[in-house]
Symmetry: C2
């Protein structure tokens, strides 16, 4: 039975799910037949939506066949005490981004990227209305270094019965900043980044993409709406302007970094009223030979400053990891 | 100039250090001549100590030639505001554990392991007496998946001008538990683990090794003194009993997991009076194809429960990652 346990020492959550064992991995096994390619639509559970309708779909949204969490599980309120846990209740979808076996935001059309973000947003809104769901998160793992198991371009949407620790921490920091300054920490950050310029990767009238001041990873990039908006699923978001930012950022990343592996995570306000939160996208590239002691140590060692990373990306320089960091 | 920046959203710290670029990596380049093998002692900065003295050393402690932090840097108090940072002031040593190019805690003698932990402990005590140092941490990265750059068995000791976020969080949790229960959270955990038995990997009169209830990683193991003790550098610690626990744990891990990559981190109380903290060792194995989205999401997905992991280790079963989790 899937289960969610709380790391009472570190504050994070761990989802235990036996269902994921046995799932296909075409990085480990080249004989794996891709379950996301056209003609194998029946290998995924019944579709939630396809766009456009009909045979020649461009995007499909399906339940994950190997879900980390499921609605079949009984919802248990997290217990309090030495061992905190909850039932493995939740929702876990897969968005197949294209019928092609390869590609990515760097090669997709603006229209397609806009549609993908509209579907993410629509589905997050739906998931957040489900009973006992407290959070909806979009994430995307690309490349073996980032833990991906299938090459076919896809992303995941997960509905959680709890608020992820990263979002709780951001919310706490932002609330205490708001109390002191009557301003949003994210709004202030983005204003400052635009003024300072050195960490900006791309900017349009609605969004800015920048390498954050304390980037944990080489070429870490955050994309943030310039205007305060707590919810990724808000109809006020301009996904056309976002599509331009996303395409530009991934084109720059793929130009500068060979064989890019990365995780992309969309952070949005939890269910309920969180007017001070500010949604944003975090892109965390995973370059080869990353250290791992950060999990236990509470600090990262990074030898590429975000100012240098942003300059490399803006100028379209090629970054040779083996030469720079070996 | 090295610099430490605070991730104000997530609470962690990032050390930026240009000096590490260009350091040798014998995982990436087989032509690299090992700087830790006998005969190349002059390739490390002047030795802090060797044991035993003379030509036939078994252990050497040296300053890191590619330090993340150095005492040459001016110490700056962390600034407060939107961007928090401090100078890259600190200490970064390397402990060469053996003259042999291979080996590990699973193959070292009990006497050698005891000596290694005595040197760790002695050096942490020294580092914590240095001006402006707030924390001393021992860590060890083994294998490419864990971010190691050299195969020769070695570990690292770092002196930091700040308290790592993991230790701050543990301290906060423990203090609030102490306030409510007048007991140490770690002491209660270890008592419970011994009672429940299912997550115990090894136990002797002084130490217990167990897979924690919310293990983030496959085969994650914590080794903890049974008796309350805040400081790893305390003379009260029994490093002979610890050596038996360490040897047993790494023998079990290496028997069950092929090509083990792991990070080991020793958590101890920060400088000053922290009577409620409880020092311990965290061993975080890094199995191939680990996901990476945990950094941004605030949760882990793990398909091997700690109860199963502990049983595999206790029974000496072989764990086939590719078969179990693909």
């Amino acid at each position: 039975m899937p289960e969610i346990r709380k790391d009472i020492f570190g504050g994070g959550w761990v989802i235990y799910s036996g269902k994921r064992i046995g799932r296909p991995n075409d990085y480990a096994d080249f004989k794996v037949k891709c379950p996301f390619c056209p003609g194998r639509e029946e290998e995924t559970p019944p579709e939630i939506l396809r766009w456009p309708k009909g045979k020649n779909w461009q995007i499909r949204l399906v339940p994950n066949r190997y879900p980390a969490l499921t609605k079949e599980e009984i919802f248990l309120k997290p217990s309090c005490g030495l061992y905190e846990y909850a039932g493995g209740y939740g929702i876990h979808d897969v968005l197949v981004e294209t019928p092609e076996h390869k590609g990515g935001f760097e090669s997709f059309s603006i229209e397609k990227i806009k549609k993908i973000f509209e579907i993410y947003s629509m589905r997050c809104g739906e998931i957040k209305k489900e009973k006992n769901i407290k959070y909806a998160m979009v994430f995307k793992n690309v490349g073996k270094n980032a833990g991906a198991s299938l090459r076919h371009p896809h992303s995941q949407i997960i509905g959680l019965p709890l608020i992820p620790s990263t979002v709780s921490w951001e919310t706490e920091k932002n609330e205490s900043f708001w109390e002191k300054n009557s301003k949003c920490l994210f709004c202030e950050t983005i204003k400052n980044e635009i003024k300072i310029k050195s960490r900006i990767v791309y900017e349009n009238s609605k969004y800015a993409a920048f390498c954050p001041f304390a980037s944990r990873f080489f070429f870490e990039i955050w994309i943030m709406p310039k205007k305060h908006e707590p919810y990724f699923e808000s109809p006020k978001n301009d996904f056309l302007a976002l599509a331009y930012a996303v395409k530009k950022v991934f084109s720059a990343l793929n130009r500068s970094v060979k064989d890019l592996s990365y995780n992309m995570i969309i952070h949005s306000a939890p269910c309920g009223e969180h007017p001070h939160y500010h949604w944003h996208i975090e892109i965390l590239p995973k370059l080869a030979s990353m250290a791992g002691f950060e999990w236990g140590s509470g600090f990262h060692i990074n030898s590429l400053r975000p100012e240098e990373a942003a300059e490399i990306l803006r100028k379209g320089k090629i970054f040779n990891f083996d030469k720079e960091e070996k």
